[in-house]
């Protein structure tokens, strides 16, 4: 392919790109490399005499032999997949519902954005008390008002309900941002296109699936990338709600990593877990990139 730019223009182009590349190398690639190196060493904070001792793949072998690593990985996958899909689908529904002019629109938008501006710690406390067996509004609504449950249940204290409860808290926290991005994207869909589709007799469902969603593919792809990245690394809300419990019901990879690296003081083993988190996110990004196609990101 013929180069469209002259040599001097190419050089200028590279010089513009260079500062960003250097910053990336210092703050992103170098720490990743350090993490990788750390994962091949026996670094325990309690044994400074052995810090940095090269042990090859031992940390990885120990990790693969440990059943808890696999179950934590599986839980992370389930948590990320469900929370991502639910948060984006719900965001799309809400965005579609409020994407027209009505009185009090600003107020509704501000209300929708509220969970996003609340800190993770406060979100966790809101949900911890909402789920509480005695004082929680969830139990009150489901058992006293709607009579769906025969009695209150400890949502965060049961193996079968802890993970869904944690997912709901995370979805609530993340949904406003997705909703706002989708609302902004919906405004860019040409009105003429929608009108033409309706005149051709397309049902509402077909308008959404065949016209609107393909038109907002790029922001959706970005949302998927952001969500998967954020959720697979999600720690704060889960830690504050359940600390990975009950048992290991919500012990996802970041919690497992924290316990190993900082409670167990084993930075080497922790780094091996972190490498897997990093690899998983990279693989997911690649899959999304392939699924949505190059044009969504160009």
């Amino acid at each position: 392919m013929k180069n469209l730019y002259s040599k001097s223009e190419t050089k200028i182009g590279y010089s513009f790109f260079l500062p960003a590349f250097i910053v990336l190398c210092i703050f992103l690639l170098w720490p990743c490399l350090q993490l990788l190196i750390l994962s091949f060493t026996k670094t325990n904070m309690l044994r400074p005499d052995q810090a940095g001792k090269f042990i090859g793949l031992r940390n990885y072998i120990n990790l693969y032999k440990n059943a808890e690593f696999w179950t934590a990985g599986y839980r992370s996958l389930v948590f990320t997949a469900i929370a991502t899909v639910v948060s984006i689908v719900l965001s799309y529904l809400i965005a579609s519902l409020v994407n027209f002019d009505f009185r009090g629109k600003s107020l509704v938008y501000a209300g929708l954005f509220l969970p996003w501006v609340i800190s993770d710690v406060i979100t966790a406390f809101i949900f911890r008390w909402s789920y509480d067996m005695t004082y929680g509004i969830v139990n009150y609504l489901l058992s006293e008002t709607l009579h769906i449950l025969s009695g209150p249940i400890p949502w965060l204290g049961r193996m079968d309900t802890a993970m869904p409860a944690v997912i709901i808290a995370n979805v609530w926290r993340l949904m406003p941002f997705s909703t706002m991005v989708i609302i902004a994207a919906l405004k860019q869909v040409p009105a003429g296109l929608l009108e033409a589709a309706r005149m051709d007799g397309a049902s509402n469902f077909r308008v959404h699936t065949k016209v609107i969603i393909p038109s907002i593919k790029a922001p959706l792809a970005v949302l998927y990338i952001l969500r998967i990245g954020a959720l697979f690394r999600s720690f704060d809300i889960i830690w504050l709600l359940t600390k990975g419990g009950p048992g290991n019901a919500t012990n996802v990879l970041p919690i497992y990593y924290y316990r190993t690296a900082f409670e167990g003081m084993s930075l080497g083993s922790g780094a091996a877990i972190a490498v897997h988190i990093l690899l998983f996110v990279i693989v997911c990004y690649y899959i999304i990139f392939r699924l949505f196609g190059k044009e969504a990101f160009s």
Binding site: P48, N62, D132, P246, M265
Partner: protein, 430 residues
């Protein structure tokens, strides 16, 4: 040219002034103290203490506050970055100070211990648990012995007395678990626990003298652990508020003050939030505390959590030790413990003999005395191993409780799980 000279003179004068001032500043020795206690009474009492130390020695103490849970991470990071403080308040006086010793952060404080004499501390276990490889890495200061707090008014109504053994504990807990309003649903439980921190199970482990490893770090999980697990299962299934599974220690205290349960196993530091939230309970004598009941007489063991003062190795080590000695000095400590957080009781014997201290603590005299008696009677003597923190990060007491009550694991399965992990951790360490 003249103008240039004038500017140069001004700049040089400024530099000179700065140099002189910085020399004066440098003459005021400062030490940095890392604190983990954020409660107002402690902050006020400790700030006063720091000022008095400065007046007496000319050494200024600068305080930074950290969360207990982040402390070790902060210490490790500060060590790597060369920004360690000079004195650290270790919240888990035993494990954290020994860990800091292993990390090469804590300086041995055997000279302070020798100067004060070992009797200066209420129980020899305080010092024993801060020692590793013959060196002591922390000076015990505040303690929070665990006690069984109970609703005395409910006990009196039913003619029950404070339980002293596990059997009695189960009986009273069962009797107090009932439907008080007659709607067919239990609305009052014998026990409320906080599964998130695992303290209730730890209390059972201690009160049964249930050691999980010996002096050489070999697993000793066996019959006693089986007894502990089985008793916890019985108590939890029949008498415990089901919401306990998602409660933290603080939630448990809140639930207790709301009248959900009749008993909680907790540390003496409960006095602070309780007297704030339900002061009338103290005025009307509605609650009381007793030592944690034991399984077999003679195996009395109370979990004695305590804060230790750690002197950090380095150029200011001597000043740091001087500060520690000042903090534990009888008159200074008595003054501090008269005004600090209610229920944070002294680990130092001379303070307990101080009349001013007792006068200041008259409102809680019974709990303070119960705490002291239970500490003195405690035979809990778990061997100190360097890898205990790593083991508990895998098999914390909270996880044991969840595995019994939530996961419904059989006792045998829990025992095997504990033993396998323990062997794995100790092997990895070697």
């Amino acid at each position: 040219m003249k103008k240039g000279c004038l500017y140069l003179t001004i700049v040089l004068s400024l530099v000179l002034c700065l140099a002189v001032f910085s020399t004066v500043e440098a003459k005021v020795q400062t030490i940095e103290f890392w604190d983990v206690n954020t409660r107002a009474p402690h902050v006020e009492a400790f700030d006063k203490l720091m000022k008095e130390f400065e007046e007496e020695t000319g050494i200024k103490v600068i305080k930074n506050i950290f969360s207990t849970k982040d402390l070790m991470t902060q210490v490790a990071t500060a060590k790597a970055g060369g920004t360690l403080p000079d004195v650290i308040l270790a919240d888990f006086g035993d494990t954290q100070s020994v860990s800091m010793g292993l990390m090469g952060v804590a300086a041995p404080v055997d000279d302070i211990i020798a100067e004060m004499g070992e009797d200066y501390w209420v129980h020899p276990i305080f010092l024993k648990r801060a020692r590793y490889d013959g060196k002591c890495y922390g000076v015990p200061w505040i303690t929070f012995p665990h006690v069984l707090v109970y609703r005395k008014d409910w006990f009196d109504e039913k003619g029950l007395s404070a339980p002293q053994t596990w059997d009695e504990w189960y009986q009273v807990a069962k009797e107090l678990t009932e439907d008080t309003d007659g709607d067919g649903k239990i609305d009052r439980w014998g026990m409320v626990c906080g599964f998130k921190e695992g303290f209730p199970f730890m209390d059972l482990v201690c009160s049964n003298g249930d050691y999980w490893w010996d002096e050489d770090g070999n697993a000793t999980i066996g019959k006693r652990t089986e007894e502990t697990l089985n008793f916890f299962r019985k108590l939890a299934n029949d008498t415990m508020y089901p919401g306990s599974v998602s409660y933290t220690h603080e939630d448990t205290r809140l639930a207790f003050t709301e009248g959900i349960g009749a008993m909680i196993a907790t540390s003496t530091s409960y006095l602070f939030p309780f007297d704030r939230d339900v002061p009338e309970w103290f005025d009307e004598g509605k609650i009381a505390a007793t030592g944690i009941p034991v399984n077999v007489k003679g195996r009395e063991g109370t979990f004695i959590g305590y804060n230790s003062l750690v002197a950090v190795k380095g150029p200011k080590e001597e000043a740091a030790k001087e500060f520690i000695k000042f903090v534990i000095r009888k008159d200074v400590a008595a003054q501090y413990f008269s005004k600090n957080v209610d229920g944070h009781v002294p680990a130092l014997s001379p303070v307990w003999e101080d009349s001013g201290f007792w006068k200041a603590r008259a409102r809680y005299e019974s709990t303070y005395r119960a705490a002291l008696e239970s500490v003195k009677a405690s035979k809990w003597d778990e061997p100190v191993v360097p890898w205990s923190g790593i083991f508990f990060s895998r098999c914390g007491y909270d996880k044991v409780m969840d595995n019994i009550y939530v996961n419904k694991w059989s006792t045998k399965r829990v025992l095997n799980w504990l033993e396998d992990n323990l062997n794995e951790v100790s092997e990895e360490w070697d």
